[in-house]
């Protein structure tokens, strides 16, 4: 089922929650809404679900205006950050509940629930009481309910936020596959750029109630349309600084200069904004190529995140973060070299619009 938001807004008590928004999600696609807390992700999901009515504009499902269709007639399923299950039901009854509402026969119900439980590794627990299971299992039950319903639209509101690290990683990989098989259109809200990257599919970046950019996840990661989108879609945060373009050179004052990329050639000379993701500032020049330029900086802090090191550097007047694989202990105050990948440089004009 395709979903279209046509110029919808949401205003509550005079406060704008959603600015006029247009969005077209194609049938059977996996879509991610990425934005910080309070950027309007949940409100957008609720508007799609019909739990809230837009202040203006329309919601269309598969070419039909459903703005005034009630929630239960929209054939949707929703999974929340909290683990929402029927507290008194067994695992089986919980998963079976949408089928019972749909009036399926006991045999059909048993078969469907069995399949889904197998898929989500819940078969062992079907007789158990929900409250006796772990958080990860409870959320699997909620996901199973959403899957078994075979809803045309599945809305997931940060479903993995309350799970522990390992389960989160595992489900991030499994979810797109599970939903691809079910044939539902999926909208997945998250505040974590890494999660959005792993889930892949399409992405809409949100900033303060506005959709900044929508498109294929990899495209948007590589070529954010503007500074806001780049900032939302970067973890650790993208390094931002001012550079000066003059003729065919770009200068980072007091640090380095390098040739101007072709797409940038015909722009007028002057100040521009450079954005460079931490992993494009690496400790080693692996490719030994001219695409990398050497910059030296002063170590402010060295932290280890997973299997990578984040080195906070003071480079001339800028505080930058460099991300490299492996564990690299440095002492604070040490001067080290990092290599900036020129292919990773994103340029923006004064209004934050990307140049590419």
């Amino acid at each position: 089922m395709s979903i279209e938001l046509k110029n919808i807004t949401k205003v509550v008590d005079g406060i704008i929650h959603i600015y006029p928004t247009n969005l077209h999600l194609r049938d059977k696609e996996f879509n991610v809404l990425l934005g910080a807390t309070l950027s309007g992700k949940t409100t957008l999901l609720r508007l799609m679900a019909g739990l809230e009515k837009p202040s203006s504009g329309e919601v269309w499902f598969s070419g039909k205006n459903v703005t005034h269709v009630s929630v239960q007639h929209r054939n949707i399923a929703m999974v929340y950050q909290e683990f929402i299950n029927y507290p008194n039901f067994s695992v089986f009854d919980n998963i079976a509940s949408p089928l019972k509402v749909a009036g399926k026969t006991p045999d059909e119900i048993k078969q469907h629930v069995g399949e889904i439980a197998e898929l989500l590794k819940l078969s062992k627990y079907l007789d158990r009481d929900v409250a006796s299971l772990s958080g990860g299992q409870q959320q699997r039950i909620a996901l199973a309910r959403a899957l078994v319903k075979q809803a045309s639209l599945v809305l997931l509101d940060e479903p993995l936020a309350n799970l522990d690290y390992k389960l989160r990683e595992q489900l991030r990989e499994e979810l797109p596959r599970l939903f691809a098989e079910s044939g539902s259109t999926v909208v997945y809200a998250t505040s974590e750029p890494e999660e959005a990257l792993m889930l892949s599919g399409h992405i809409a970046t949100l900033y303060e109630g506005e959709i900044i950019q929508y498109g294929k996840t990899t495209d948007i990661y590589r070529r954010p349309a503007n500074l806001a989108s780049a900032k939302i879609f970067s973890h650790p945060p993208i390094n931002i600084t001012k550079v000066v373009k003059s003729k065919s050179r770009i200068t980072l004052p007091g640090v380095a200069d390098w040739p101007c990329p072709e797409v940038f050639q015909d722009h007028i000379d002057g100040e521009y904004i450079l954005g460079i993701r931490p992993h494009h500032l690496s400790l080693k020049n692996l490719e030994q190529s001219e695409k990398h330029i050497r910059i030296s900086g002063n170590v402010q802090l060295a932290e280890i995140s997973g299997s990578a090191s984040l080195i906070h550097l003071r480079i001339n007047e800028n505080d930058w973060i460099s991300e490299s694989g492996g564990i690299h202990p440095y002492s604070i105050g040490e001067t080290i070299n990092v290599y900036m990948n020129l292919d990773g440089c994103l340029y923006f004009d004064h209004d934050g619009k990307a140049i590419h």
Partner: protein, 288 residues
Amino acid sequence: MIIKTVKQTAWFFVVPVVLLVAFNALIPLMTVVNYAFQETFGDNVFFWEGLTWFEQVLNSDRFHDAFLRQIMFTSIILLIEVPLGIVIALSMPRKGPWVSVCLVLMALPLLIPWNVVGAMWNIFALPDIGLLGYTLNSIGIDYNFTQQPVSAWITTILMDVWHWTSLVVLLAYAGLSAIPEAYYQAAKIDGASRWAVFKWIQLPKMKRVLTIAILLRFMDSFMIYTELIVLTGGGPGNSTTLLSIDLVKLALGQFDLGPAAAMSLIYFFIVLLICWVFYTLMMKNEQQ
């Protein structure tokens, strides 16, 4: 061989609590036990009676009647107050300025001294001058709680419901407030009816607080004294003489200290036993 070092000083820290409990519970209780097994004619002279008083109390029609009345009273008020409390809690607003207004209104009856509650209802229900009694009689209903057992029972139950439903309401409301909004949304998406939401989400989520509410209301109603002695004094006749009133009549009215002490102990063990059974059943249910 295992050698344990025992620090005897630890016992020292328990002494204050032991003393406190001894003085406010154990020693008074022991005097009751003392009276329950002996006969006294004053001057601190005691004669051993063994289980005589217990047999006498347990075999008396008077105790049986009071006990049955007590069971009836407690059952009726539980059957009214618990469902009524849930209904009121469900219909209270969950956010906005009216929440605090409702909560304060609900808490008011709980803040009134118990004897004042009795006095209020006594005056309110008087057939000649009371608002309730006068109104009922003037529309042709023969109502007189000082003369008719049925009227007395209705008044007593009305008073208890007025006084204590708030407790159930406040506890149930607290239980309802703890249910995340997402549950209601999920139910809405599933197309659940109002009744289904209550049965499958709200009631199970309120189970814990309702257990506490029922337990508290059971214990308090089983030991009701102050409001009742002011309202009816146990009358007309013995019709509203519940266990506690009967006990006071026996101990202070007739000065039968032995049987009264024995009855106190029986009374105490009945409350303890029912609470224990009730609690065990509830907890067993919880674990399943």
